[in-house]
């Protein structure tokens, strides 16, 4: 089965991000394909490389980055939702005249068309949110 995943809530605040990760990992382990993981609403905050959780807690951002590296996952952060919330990659930071960027390794910023395309190309789009 070819899955696409939509993550609509931020890390630590809400279970959705953890559930999406566990689902994605389990699907891969069962031999399914993940076409794309798309981060929207506060879900874009899952991509902040400045996230520093307590040491005895899970590191949600790094966990996504590692999963992406291991399985060549396409992690896409919505640009409009990201900019509202202060999430910028290097290119956007330069373009907007900002002095910093904060997108973690393995994530890329792109448009909402990537979400629609994921719906078209995958057999199931699974939404994790409130």
């Amino acid at each position: 089965m070819k899955f696409a995943i939509l993550v609509n809530e931020g890390p630590y605040q809400h279970q959705a991000s953890d559930s999406a990760y566990q689902f994605t990992k389990a699907a891969i382990e069962k031999g399914h394909d993940i076409f794309r993981v798309f981060f929207y609403h506060d879900g874009v905050n899952n991509a902040s490389r400045l996230t520093v959780p307590p040491q005895d807690d899970r590191h949600i951002v790094n966990r996504w980055s590692e999963l992406a590296k291991e399985h060549n996952l396409d992690l896409v952060v919505c640009i409009a939702a990201a900019q509202r919330r202060g999430m910028l990659d290097e290119k956007e930071a330069n373009r907007q005249g900002k002095d910093a960027n904060n997108i973690a390794e393995g994530f890329r910023i792109s448009g909402l068309g990537q979400l629609i395309e994921a719906g078209i190309q995958s057999e199931r789009l699974v939404v994790f949110g409130d």
Partner: protein, 128 residues
């Protein structure tokens, strides 16, 4: 965009939340507008407090309201994007004392069984 030619899927945007208070409604509308360019078979459904997104006479300016942008007029423009199938949940309307006359756009009222059937027919359900 790497749109696969000829593939037309049934997309349902399921709007469940009030227009203000959280950003879900506004950002859902942004997905609908972008999605329109992909020429898919699109339906919108409004249930629970999502009904309020279509309410006429929203006043949100600094002088008369909460000081945020009123995006409700965009729903009226959706027809121009070939987004014409708009459904609302009967029970949600009744619970809130709303009738079709209170809403900005032409809608079709569905009862619970019809709404369930609509969802069953879809390929992709985006729930906001």
């Amino acid at each position: 965009m790497m749109e696969e030619e000829g593939v037309i899927k049934k997309f349902l945007y399921l709007n469940r939340k009030a227009p203000y208070g959280t950003v879900y409604a506004l950002e859902s509308l942004e997905v609908i507008l972008v999605g329109a360019a992909f020429e898919q078979d699109v339906s919108l459904a409004f249930i629970d407090d999502g009904i309020y997104q279509l309410k006429k006479n929203q006043q949100t300016s600094v002088s008369s309201g909460i000081g945020v942008k009123d995006f409700s007029k965009t729903y009226r423009a959706l027809e121009g994007y070939d987004v014409e199938k708009v459904y609302v949940d009967k029970k949600s309307m009744e619970e809130r004392g709303l009738t079709e006359d209170d809403l900005l756009v032409d809608i079709e009222v569905l009862d619970e069984a019809q709404m369930a059937e609509l969802m069953e027919q879809q390929d992709v359900v985006l729930s906001f």
